[in-house]
């Protein structure tokens, strides 16, 4: 049986990718941020997943205005790294897990989530920066990755409650897969940031830290926060945080199991325009 063993949460700021790719991680601006991910690299070395179910948003890369899926699951065998305008990041291609991805798709569609299945798409910094933060710069990514893209670009984006319920359905789906697989689910994006207008650069450290507290201890309550609160408090792009609720919904305690163990918590301002938040929660089942 496949099992969700842990969930990882992290911002996916493009500038972090630029810093890694350009060898700038030791510079004074970046050193404190990367220091915050050192424990995570050690943790994942000791807790290597077979598959990462990686929840992220596409930033007008694979999907432009011709077609916008609310939830898209990557069921393909591999996914190329996109050219977002600066040339593709020099990172390995992403290898999928078509069998598990199709299995999850089948299960959650029967659970009334109206997914879009995608066999061919390019993945952008939303997916590759978290991989770089956790795995560094390997020749090939050390595990398979199922990309799961959420629309948070054009409104309406899915509600926190919908995301939280989807996470629960994903958990049921993973646990009904016959092969023994160690699966981690990652929720990415956020924390507070705004990339537009006179309000660009907004950071709300208090709100972010309360979000982290509640994500750990009261995810069901947190899932009921309406979008407008994210926008007002965490900036227009802070809405990406709803994606963390998908990963959190997949943890055992939400289905009546034991509470997860907090293995790591980190918060840092700034990375470029953005506040960086990071959590690792381990399941105890």
């Amino acid at each position: 049986m496949a099992k969700i063993t842990a969930s990882v949460y992290t911002s996916h700021v493009p500038a972090i990718g630029v810093a890694i790719d350009g060898g700038k991680t030791a510079e004074p601006y970046w050193a404190p941020l990367f220091a915050g991910y050192e424990p995570s690299k050690q943790w994942i070395e000791a807790n290597r997943p077979d598959v990462v179910f990686l929840v992220y948003n596409d930033h007008a890369t694979a999907f432009n205005l011709d077609l916008i899926p609310t939830f898209a699951i990557g069921t393909g065998a591999e996914f190329a790294v996109a050219d977002e305008g600066w040339g593709p990041r020099p990172v390995p291609k992403v290898v999928g897990h078509p069998e598990l991805a199709s299995h999850i798709a089948q299960s959650v569609i029967q659970d009334d989530f109206d997914l879009t299945l995608v066999n061919r798409m390019e993945v952008d910094h939303g997916l590759t920066v978290p991989l770089s933060l956790m795995f560094g710069q390997p020749e090939a990514w050390p595990c398979k990755v199922i990309p799961f893209a959420v629309n948070v670009v054009q409104y309406p984006v899915p509600s926190g409650a919908r995301c939280f319920a989807l996470g629960q359905a994903i958990r049921r789906a993973v646990e009904s897969f016959d092969d023994n697989l160690n699966v981690q689910i990652w929720g990415t994006g956020g924390m507070s940031h705004q990339l537009q207008g006179a309000r660009a650069g907004l950071i709300n450290a208090d709100w972010d830290n309360r979000f982290l507290d509640r994500l750990i201890a009261d995810p069901a309550g947190l899932s009921k926060v309406p979008h407008i609160h994210y926008v007002r408090e965490a900036g227009s792009e802070g809405i990406e945080l709803v994606m963390w609720l998908i990963a959190r919904g997949a943890m055992a305690d939400v289905a009546g199991g034991p509470a997860p163990t907090l293995k790591h918590r980190f918060y840092h301002v700034p990375a470029s325009n953005t506040a960086v938040g990071h959590l690792i929660l381990e399941n105890n089942v």
Binding site: H59, A60, T61, A82, V153, Y155, I228, V231, N273
Partner: protein, 159 residues
């Protein structure tokens, strides 16, 4: 009754909803074309000619040529699409975001290093924060801008 848009009273913020998306369709699709290196080269080699191949409004084209991202957003652009223009120019997301505040690159970077813009006074239109419309533009440029405005008003007899 129409659907609720509770996000219209956030200062300095345009939510990219279906209405904005319709308005900005071709502007954003033009931006998407810049994901191909050959298109970036063609655009840089002749911006106006490249833009004229797209059914964008004249206002949208002028806003792109001026790299006025605030104006682009008002005309239906979305920042993730508009970022392709910045990428073509070799600019970072920080440079692009900063350009919309009126601050210089250094001022904006310093604000971020100091912890970013505070949400205080910037949650609802009509408060007193630095992102409110009556406090634009921000930074050193604004002081010069306001002084110039005062001089002009003084010259015109205070109108």
């Amino acid at each position: 009754m129409a659907l609720d848009k509770p996000y219209l009273d956030v200062p300095g913020t345009t939510i990219f909803d279906a209405e904005q998306s319709r308005k900005g369709y071709w502007l954003n699709q033009f931006c998407t074309s810049l994901m191909k290196p050959e298109n970036r080269a063609r655009f840089l080699a002749g911006e106006r000619a490249y833009l004229d191949q797209w059914p964008m409004s004249e206002q949208q084209k002028l806003a792109v040529l001026a790299r006025d991202l605030n104006r682009c957003i008002a005309l239906g652009g979305n920042i993730y699409f508009l970022a392709r223009i910045g990428a073509t120019d070799g600019k970072s997301f920080q440079q692009m975001a900063g350009s919309m505040t009126g601050m210089s690159e250094e001022e904006y970077r310093a604000m971020m290093v100091a912890g970013g813009r505070s949400p205080e006074g910037n949650r609802v239109l009509g408060e007193e924060g630095d992102a409110q419309p009556h406090n634009q533009p921000q930074g050193e440029a604004s002081r010069m801008f306001r002084e110039a405005g005062c001089l002009a008003r003084a010259k015109n007899g205070g109108a």
